[in-house]
């Protein structure tokens, strides 16, 4: 019996470490591991989601104890709570209406594309946001202050985002200190969804005839879902931690497979409750529609990361977990504030302030666990348009100051910005928008302030640009690399 508990602790620790490594930005395998997270996988419609649902139908919410990083954090604070407060778990009320209400509400938000907002309660995104906006800068700061390790720059994060991430994490981890998996059984959308399947799990736990009603299991139950007195184990709330089985000395619990009669599971959806849920759904829908009205106008769209497809599709899937932001070597990805509207708070967007999109990198599109970014191959990515450049000649330093520059064209990976003759031996940029991919290199390096001479505007729908080869002049296309023969004299 103990073995299963050890197994759970080992697996969940490994999962947590893999995900933490993924958010460090230096471990692609860790970042890929995030693909098994239930909610992002559910959004992406990937195999991992089916796996966790099958596991739920088989035994219960296995994901919550094995795969969830936020569950891991709560298990730690819950463990501390038990040690420090010497608390014992108590039977908790099912709080079914709260769970269903929150679940339905959040799912409606997700369905209407308020994912960035709903991501504030989705467990993987909560963890990701905390890692990226709080732990990472804190780790960098501590290293730089103490001199133990060193970062060239502390990742800048908006103060509001730090504050919100800290508050949410404190509330969730704090609630676990007192009531262990309270969050998972009330507000968590993954818990809600998996719970629906766990309700009818084939091999869920029940009391066996050898149970002596010692209540040992009740005292260690993280979900507070065992009620020995009433003979009830609410499998919808059970996170399959294995504590009860480990503690039972009498083989009083068995998972031998039979469908239990429905009456065992407390709480039924009567008419009133259905009305309540419908009301919640309607409120959510109204809020979602309202939130969607506040979208940015077409000509002021932010650049979504490469692979997003269209901004609309992206907003429907990105839960703002920050995995791509944490892994962006070009440092161009940042969480959005209100650029996508209220709906997209925390979703990733490109901001050529600290860097620009590396031409030879397609990492973000290949690690997105939520399917918000479709995988792009490098050749695709190199021609993948996320935005398009506008050149403001009247702001350009060559025109205003009569000085050489060319920084934008230098940083342009496709030749969409090219230097052409201007006057007095000076050159100015010329734009070929057909081959601009919107990487932001030009905007990043442009020295003109406050308004830059080149700006990238996001496109509503991402697509491949024209083939740069088409823009090659014919003479150049045919011209091979010239060789200077060794006999030629130096021209000086």
């Amino acid at each position: 019996m103990k073995k299963s508990r050890v197994f759970r602790i080992v697996i969940s620790t490994l999962m947590f470490l893999a995900i933490a490594a993924g958010f460090s930005g230096i471990c692609t395998i860790g970042a890929k591991a995030a693909g098994v997270e239930f909610f992002p996988a559910f959004t992406a419609g990937s195999v991992a989601a089916i796996f966790w649902i099958l596991a739920a139908l088989f035994r219960g919410r296995v994901f919550c104890s094995f795969g969830c990083p936020l569950g891991f954090i709560q298990d730690i604070t819950g463990f501390l709570g038990r040690k420090v407060r010497r608390q014992k778990s108590v039977v908790q009320p099912p709080r079914r209406m709260m769970r269903y209400g929150a679940g339905v509400f959040l799912l409606v938000l997700f369905a209407f594309g308020l994912c960035g907002l709903a991501g504030f309660l989705e467990p993987f995104s909560v963890t990701g946001r905390f890692f990226n906006s709080v732990l990472k800068p804190a780790f960098q700061w501590i290293g730089n202050k103490s001199g133990l390790w060193h970062f060239s720059e502390i990742t800048p994060v908006a103060a509001g985002l730090i504050a919100v991430s800290v508050i949410i994490m404190l509330l969730i981890a704090g609630s676990a200190f007192f009531k262990e998996r309270l969050f998972c059984n009330t507000l968590c959308p993954a818990g809600f969804l998996l719970g629906l399947f766990s309700r009818i799990a084939r091999f869920r736990l029940k009391f066996s005839p050898s149970c002596v009603k010692c209540k040992g299991c009740e005292k260690v139950c993280k979900g507070g879902c065992i009620d020995v007195e009433k003979g009830i184990i609410d499998n919808e709330r059970c996170v399959v931690c294995g504590n009860c089985e480990a503690v039972c000395k009498f083989q009083g619990l068995t998972s031998a497979g039979t469908f239990l009669p429905d009456s065992v599971v407390p709480g039924k959806l009567d008419g009133k409750r259905r009305l309540f849920l419908a009301g919640i759904a309607l409120t959510g829908a109204a809020g979602a529609v309202g939130g969607n009205v506040l979208r940015p106008p077409e000509d002021k769209l932010p650049c979504a990361p490469p692979g997003a497809g269209s901004i609309e599709e992206f907003n429907l899937k990105c839960t703002g977990c920050q995995l791509c932001v944490a892994n962006c070597p070009g440092k161009i990805l940042a969480p959005a504030l209100l650029e996508y509207g209220i709906a997209g708070i925390g979703q990733a967007r490109m901001l050529p302030e600290k860097g620009f999109c590396d031409f030879n990198c397609n990492k973000c599109s290949n690690i997105c666990p939520a399917g918000a970014l479709k995988p792009l191959t490098l050749p695709e990515k190199r021609r993948w348009r996320v935005g398009v450049v506008t050149y403001f000649k009247e702001r350009c330093v060559v025109v205003t100051d009569g000085e050489s520059c060319g920084a934008c064209a230098e940083h342009c990976p496709t030749g969409a910005l090219d230097m052409v003759d201007y006057k007095d031996g000076l050159t100015i940029p010329k734009v070929t928008p057909e081959i601009c991919i919107g990487c932001g290199g030009c905007e990043y390096i442009c020295p003109v302030r406050p308004l830059r001479a080149v700006e990238i505007r996001g496109v509503a729908k991402q697509s491949m640009t024209a083939d740069p080869a088409q823009f090659r002049s014919k003479a150049v296309k045919k011209e091979p690399v010239k060789q200077v023969s060794a006999d030629d004299a130096f021209p000086f």
Binding site: A407, D418, A489
Partner: protein, 302 residues
Amino acid sequence: MLRRDFLKGVALTALTAGLLKRIPLGAAVKEGENCDLAAVRGKSPGDMFDLAIAALGGMGAFVKKGQSVLVKPNIGWNSEPEKGADTNPELVGRIVKRALEAGASKVMVFDHTCDSDWVSCYKRSGIRDAVEQAGGVMITGNDKSAYREVEIKGAKVMKKALVHPALLEADVVINVPVLKNHGGATMTSAMKNYMGVVWDRRWMHKNGLHQCIADSVLIRKPDLNVVDAYLVMTYGGPVGRSPKTRRVKMNSLLASRDIVAVDTAAVKMLGVSMPEVNYLDLGAELKLGTRDLSKLKIKRIV
């Protein structure tokens, strides 16, 4: 056809067809005498360096036993050696090796890369492997907190700047640019390679690029400049991602103590019009070197 293209075309045609057999500039170099500027052609980049350094008096004339050496190549771009956007790795590796053989205590190599992923730039350019194989140390140039603010004495515009500490601390500085066309500054070679020791290049672009380039050399004049003209981007530089990019395999190398002189020779190699490379005039005004090649002893090794 545009005037510039026309000039380039003429120069290149002349160069390749061997029509430009002019009377060589500069004083004759006697047998066994050290020269001021060495121009080598027709060997591998590393071997050309060996010939050039011998003509300049040997590595021992530059690196003394126990001295620390900084080799500053151009690793600006995340680009393969065959693109000619970064300095040839074999050349950088050879310089590191020769410096260590001459008794250098430590040879450091860095560039403040333009592409943001500096680790990839070091790797893809082949320079990291070449340097480490030769026994040198790659250090990062993209860590702002390491840069030190220094006053630049004699500078006209950039009177102070955040500068990479390796440049300030090294006993010997060897500047190893790759010769390229540059969309903004017309040519990038030895003087422009010095932008890589300054943190805020955007400021340089904003405040008169040519003067700032000349000012940057005042921070600490290099002891030796080795211009890699093995594979030269004659148009579409400095990165060569533009579809209009042209490259010429010049198989050449220039080396000199004089940064202005070596760039003056480089201008002629590239075949661009001299006044457009304004930082050469400004550099001569700051007494960084001479633009008058006829006053130099030039050794041509072909």
